[in-house]
Amino acid sequence: MARILAFVLNDRARTDAVPGNLLLLDYLREVVGLTGTKTGCDGGECGACTVLIDDKPTLSCLTLAASVEGRRVDTVESLGTDGQLSAVQRGFHEKLGAQCGYCTPGFIMASAGLLRKNPNPSEAEIIAALGSNICRCTGYVKIIEAVQYAAALRAQGIAP
């Protein structure tokens, strides 16, 4: 049975009728048309589908769309503003944190969630916070550098 879902997506209020068995991932990609969030393993093992729900990294492939009623969801599309990359996006771009790029939106959202909670994380805290994400190009060293760089950009007020 379809139910009315009202929530805030990327800072805009939205209302849609969604069936109970629609996953948030499929809702974002197929209904809204935001394809930045990637479908990876489809079983909660890879983190490519990570979005923020009320600022907390969450796997959209295991979240039912109807369950985000009244909450705030941010996808990777929410980060760039007025043509400017966010600090985390700049970090991944300039420090070569992306190789094939498929896992990158998930890593970026997990990193954005970390920096919102902890603006100045240690290397150990970065590693711990990215533990649910997998990069099969094995670029973890550059990813950690990207997050450190992003934290510095934010601290200096260069990028949001």
């Binding site: 139910r3 996953l23 969450t58 979240t63 369950s67 997990a110 649910s132 994400n133």
Partner: protein, 338 residues
């Protein structure tokens, strides 16, 4: 992964409403974070007609923790439990176990009730419909044979791998069950009935990997409680193939009391090894003296008798049992000497 079958999702905000929905819809299942259940639905392992999202039920979302006692609602998120300052301070084994569950994103989603009722796992069970049908299914679904123990004669050996249960078992926790006939409280150890013994019929107090919880129809976990025992030193540790996210090769919770140079109390509980979390029986006999080879030898014997790990994709069963024993020995040593 298969497409999701049709089901409805209801979001009660009070416990009474949740119970009413559960009673009205016998084919429903309570949903916590979905990190276990949604995966199993996608694999065609279970097909509930309705999911009851428990995350908005206000009565189930609180942690009460102080120097006297601990009470955790079933809808509390694992990340909140792992980082709760009073849980970290007074119940370190519980906070550490919560922090060892899956990865950080999963802990933002997963709940205490979900982890306590985590479905048992097996390399022949946690597979796609297509994979399982090619293998004639298994005992835990619709098949006739337990593929991981083919001579089991009708007993399912799927493994329980929740991390909170062993931690709470070392503290002698109780669990509140809520259902159509009201509330009841059980010792947490009585919730887990996965004894997997051959020749014993499945009853409310004795089950196997398939029937591993003593929940009655329509019942669900409401909260779990433990008393503080400030004299106990406790900790949790776990070994897994990928440290950041994987299910355990073995997990162990230890709580012990040291008086001078004497080991005065010892409780050891395992996960990831049997169809239930195992609070080792017979550890009292190891207490009363120094922490010496006699204790370690005795601990090894108890592990050998009571721990029954099955093979997984990566590791044979006998290796997992040795890992469990070594992990326990290390943790006991660390807690006693610290």
């Amino acid at each position: 992964m298969d497409a999701l079958p049709a089901f409805d999702l209801l979001r009660p905000t009070t416990l009474d409403e949740a119970i009413r929905i559960r009673v009205a819809h016998p084919g429903s299942m309570p949903l916590g974070g979905g990190t276990d259940l949604v995966v199993n639905i996608r694999r065609g392992i279970v097909a509930p007609a309705m999911l009851i999202d428990m995350n908005a039920v206000s009565e189930l979302k609180t942690i009460r923790a102080d120097a006297r006692g601990l009470e955790i609602g079933a809808s509390v998120k694992l990340a909140e439990l792992a980082g709760h300052p009073d849980v970290v301070k007074h119940y370190p084994v519980v906070a550490q176990a919560a922090g060892f569950i899956a990865g950080p994103t999963h802990r933002n989603m997963g709940t205490v009730g979900g982890n306590l009722c985590l479905d048992t796992r097996c390399i022949y069970y946690n597979q796609s419909e297509w994979w399982r049908s090619a293998n004639n299914h298994c005992l835990k679904t619709t098949g006739d044979i337990c593929h991981v123990a083919p001579k089991s004669r009708g007993v399912c050996f799927a493994t329980f791998s929740g991390d909170l249960a062993p931690a709470l078992l070392t503290l002698g926790a109780e669990v509140d069950l809520v259902g159509p006939t009201g509330r009841r409280t059980l010792p947490l150890s009585k919730l887990y009935i996965g004894h997997a013994r051959q020749g014993e019929p499945v009853t409310e107090t004795r089950g196997d990997g398939k029937y591993f919880l003593s929940l009655r129809p329509g019942e669900f976990v409401g909260a779990v409680r433990a008393k503080n025992m400030p004299e106990l030193r406790s900790a949790y540790d776990k070994i897994r193939i990928r440290r950041s996210i994987e299910y355990p090769v073995a997990g162990v919770a230890v709580a012990l009391r040291r008086e001078g140079n004497t080991l005065a109390d010892l409780r050891v509980a395992f996960t990831g090894t049997n169809p239930r979390p195992v609070l080792l029986e017979g550890t009292a006999a190891l207490c009363g003296g120094a922490l010496d080879e006699r204790v370690f030898k005795g601990l090894d014997d108890l592990v050998r008798d009571q721990i029954m790990a099955m093979k997984t994709t990566f590791t044979p069963g006998h290796y997992r049992r040795r890992v469990a024993g070594v992990l326990a020995r290390r943790l006991v040593t660390r807690l006693f000497t610290d």
